[in-house]
């Protein structure tokens, strides 16, 4: 006790503690007074978890996603820390609105508490600014594209817009300085302002006292312990909800790394900004400034004027009606935005693609090569599984199909007019090719100029009339031809069937099947130019070759149907041809099957 007295003599802590704990609560403790405390608690959580995240976060366009990935997937409890920070931010937004509603409903904004009310509105705006800046920091596709939209909207502010955007973005384009600026705002400038305003807010609150809810139900009491307990229970409830969400979703989402060259049609702001997003749909080009700036500005102005409006006879009722109308409007717009996305199949596909790419980015980052210095975005750009379907959909799917779709799961406008390339050169695919019932069907040559060509004729007549021994030889030849492709999926099978492949090779160049009457196969057969070369058929080099130039005499020569020379005509780069080839061949990194986590 003596030590405490000594301390008190020098710090005066007892008086401070007393003032904190024994503030008067008019009418005794009530649940409706807890909201301010829950917000203070949330802010404390954000400061602590934010500082801890800062220990591992690195703001630059080559390290932001990577460091967040590392926090999320490699560091001890990193996913939990990120999750708490993320979902507490959501909770804080909800609680801010509840606090505001409670203040207006109870008339706590009226004189002499105007400044307290205004500082509260500033705190609301600052907290929303924290959400906006924090959304970008992981530098994933979602944050990147949502922020791009938000800063482009800032640019339509009259007069100062373009300069404002440049200042926020840190230059003409999005990059390192966008991140350093957003990080400084998010972790330094805005929290600093919030602390200053919280101090002012609490000072004014203490100066004017709590606004009692009349009539008082009980005599006045001290803050400690009844109201403290209620506040603590309310904070506990908030925390329980946050923790539930953290465990339910295993922390916060992390999308695929931001790629300015990769459009992202699933871009949406955080749910509590969806109403603004939806509102902008109703303003035709050139008038967005009304929806993005003027209208929200006016609403905020009315909100700020509430203490004055409240002085009129019907002012308080007006304020209440206004607030409910505004909340109703926000809710309706949010509902519309969610409904529009739900009923839009393209959005559903975009979200699914986004989830797949996010997952793939993590698989590659954890792969044996790790993340290169150029950043994780390179991993996806060089990944056949990610890029192959996109290139196929863009350049191949106007004629070809992949398992009946365009590679990405969609259906192109034009009807299929060339072979379905799923499993190209595999045993199953070739068996279908040599099926007289299928060869001129839509999966193979059915819709091409080759429908009346020699190969179709050969399959429909010669193959159809093969005797049992001939059929056996054909089956062996198919195995041998398929082995030329060296497909990853058949590697093990090809190794086991070494003897069969040798027999099949003999059949392939034998007189019974007479393949080499038209085709060339290694040293045997016709000169190139009459039919596609079967040497290395379906191998990487072979497919790259035919995509580069199908009119090369090694492939279709002058008999080429309509396939463009993608490489020769520079419609695709060699890199893209390689990616789509590897994808068709099933050559991409897969982690070795491990124990399920």
């Amino acid at each position: 006790m003596k030590a405490l007295d000594w301390l008190d003599h020098r710090t005066g802590y007892k008086r401070l503690l007393h003032e904190t704990l024994f503030e008067n609560v008019p009418g005794g403790a009530r649940w409706r007074y807890v909201w301010g405390s829950t917000l203070a608690f949330c802010f404390m959580v954000q400061v602590v978890t934010g500082l801890a995240l800062w220990l591992a976060y690195s703001p630059s366009s080559q390290t932001a996603w990577e460091s967040v990935y590392y926090i999320q997937h490699e560091m001890w409890g990193g996913w939990f820390l990120r999750g708490v920070h993320h979902y507490t931010a959501h909770a804080m937004t909800v609680l801010l609105v509840v606090h505001l509603m409670q203040v207006v409903i109870d008339g706590a904004y009226k004189a002499p508490r105007e400044f307290n009310f205004w500082s509260g509105i500033v705190l609301l705006l600052l907290t929303l600014a924290l959400s906006l800046t924090g959304y970008l920091l992981p530098w994933d596709q979602k944050g990147f594209w949502a922020t791009k939209v938000a800063t482009n909207i800032a640019a339509i502010t009259p007069v100062i817009g373009p300069s404002l955007q440049k200042l926020v973005v840190g230059g003409n384009d999005y990059g390192h300085h966008t991140l350093t600026r957003f990080f400084a705002l998010h972790a330094g400038i805005i929290p600093g302002l919030i602390i200053a305003f919280i101090v002012g807010h609490i000072y004014l609150f203490r100066k004017h006292g709590l606004t009692p809810k009349l009539p008082k139900r009980r005599p006045d009491a001290a803050f400690w312990p009844d109201q403290v307990l209620r506040d603590a229970v309310a904070c506990l409830a908030v925390l329980v909800v946050v923790l539930f969400l953290v465990f339910r979703y295993h922390g916060a989402e992390l999308g695929a790394p931001a790629d300015p060259s990769e459009p992202f049609s699933a871009a949406r702001p955080e749910w509590y900004f969806l109403f603004l997003f939806e509102l902008l749909k109703y303003f035709p080009g050139g008038t967005e400034v009304w929806g993005a700036i003027v209208l929200p500005g006016l609403l905020m102005a009315v909100l700020a004027a509430m203490p004055f409006i409240g002085n009129w006879k019907l002012g308080h009722r007006f304020n209440l009606a206004f607030l409910w109308a505004m909340m109703g409007g926000v809710a309706a717009l949010t509902f519309l935005a969610i409904g529009a996305d739900r009923s839009n199949p393209n959005h559903t596909i975009a979200v699914r693609t986004a989830e797949q790419e996010a997952h793939r980015a993590v698989v590659l980052a954890r792969g044996p090569d790790g993340i290169p210095i150029t950043g994780a975005v390179t991993l996806l750009r060089n990944d056949p599984l990610t890029q192959g379907p996109k290139i196929f959909a863009k350049s191949c799917a106007s004629c070809h199909r992949y398992d009946g779709h365009d590679g990405l799961g969609g259906q192109p406008k034009d009807k299929a007019s060339a072979a379905d390339l799923k499993g190209f050169a595999s045993r199953a695919w070739l068996t279908g090719l040599f099926d007289p019932a299928k060869v001129d069907g839509s999966l193979y040559f059915g819709d091409t100029a080759h429908k009346r060509g020699k190969m179709v004729k050969y399959v429909k007549e010669d193959v159809a009339s093969l005797d049992d021994a001939g059929k056996k030889e054909l089956a062996q030849a198919i195995v041998a031809l398929s082995a030329e492709a060296r497909l990853k999926a058949q590697r093990e099978q090809d190794r086991q069937d070494e003897a069969l492949i040798a027999t099949g090779t003999k059949a392939l160049i034998g007189t019974k099947l007479s393949c080499i009457d038209c085709h060339r196969f290694h040293e045997d057969g016709e000169e190139l130019g009459t039919a596609p070369d079967l040497t290395g058929y379906g191998s990487r080099e072979w497919i790259v070759g035919i995509i580069t130039n199908p009119e090369h005499q090694r492939f279709y020569g002058a008999k080429n149907d309509r396939m463009p020379a993608f490489g020769e005509e520079k419609q695709l780069t060699p890199h893209e041809i390689g990616l789509v080839t590897d994808w068709l061949r099933g050559e991409w990194y897969e982690p070795a099957a491990k124990k399920p986590e």
């Binding site: 404390m44 978890t49 001890w76 990193g78 939990f80 312990p225 603590a232 290169p372």
Partner: protein, 186 residues
């Protein structure tokens, strides 16, 4: 705020028990919820303690012909794979060694890092010794401490060398903790 009651002013006896429970519950709940964020942060803060020291890898550093028998030590960079948190880089500089060819095709390899505080030592041909530019530690050609008042707690760290195919000098590269008398790998 002036309130008539004080922490130790006696409340009505009937409410005693109820108030005690309220206080206990407020403290318990308040304490528990306040502890959650710091604990979450502490895990991430302590994460580096989980990372084990990496074992030295054998690296091709030079060809034997680059060294003359009985010649001066020469400095060579050591290229190896490096993991830096999320980044993995192959064949990048991870350190350097001094190589000196002795008699009978023996090679001595010394890590250039001074065992005192981790600066890179220089070889000074004029004095035929290694010298650390930071705190003036000096070492003989065999890495031994020359000056008894040397700030360095141990000689320069010698590394295992192997000559493969008769021409390739391979060094098992490893860094050691600075400021210790013993060689403790880092």
């Amino acid at each position: 705020m002036d309130t008539p009651s004080a922490p130790d002013s006696a409340p009505p006896p009937a409410g005693d028990r109820r108030e005690f429970l309220t206080k206990a519950a407020a403290i318990a709940i308040g304490g528990a919820i306040t502890a959650v964020p710091p604990i979450a942060g502490l895990c991430v803060f302590l994460d580096p303690l989980r990372r084990e020291a990496s074992a030295g890898a054998s690296v091709l550093v030079a060809s034997l012909s680059a060294l003359t028998e009985g010649g001066e030590p020469r400095k060579f960079p050591v290229l190896a794979d490096k993991v830096d948190a999320w980044n993995r880089a192959t064949n990048v500089p991870v350190g350097a060694v001094y190589l000196q060819r002795l008699k009978d095709n023996k090679i001595r390899a010394l890590n250039v890092v001074c065992p005192h505080a981790g600066c890179f030592v220089d070889f000074r041909p004029a004095q035929n010794k290694y010298h650390c530019p930071c705190h003036d530690s000096s070492f003989g050609l065999d890495g031994a401490i020359l000056d008894p008042k040397s700030p360095s707690p141990r000689p320069l760290d010698e590394l295992p060398v192997e000559i493969r195919k008769g021409t390739e000098v391979w060094v098992t590269f490893q860094n050691f903790r600075a400021g210790e008398h013993k060689k403790i790998p880092v």
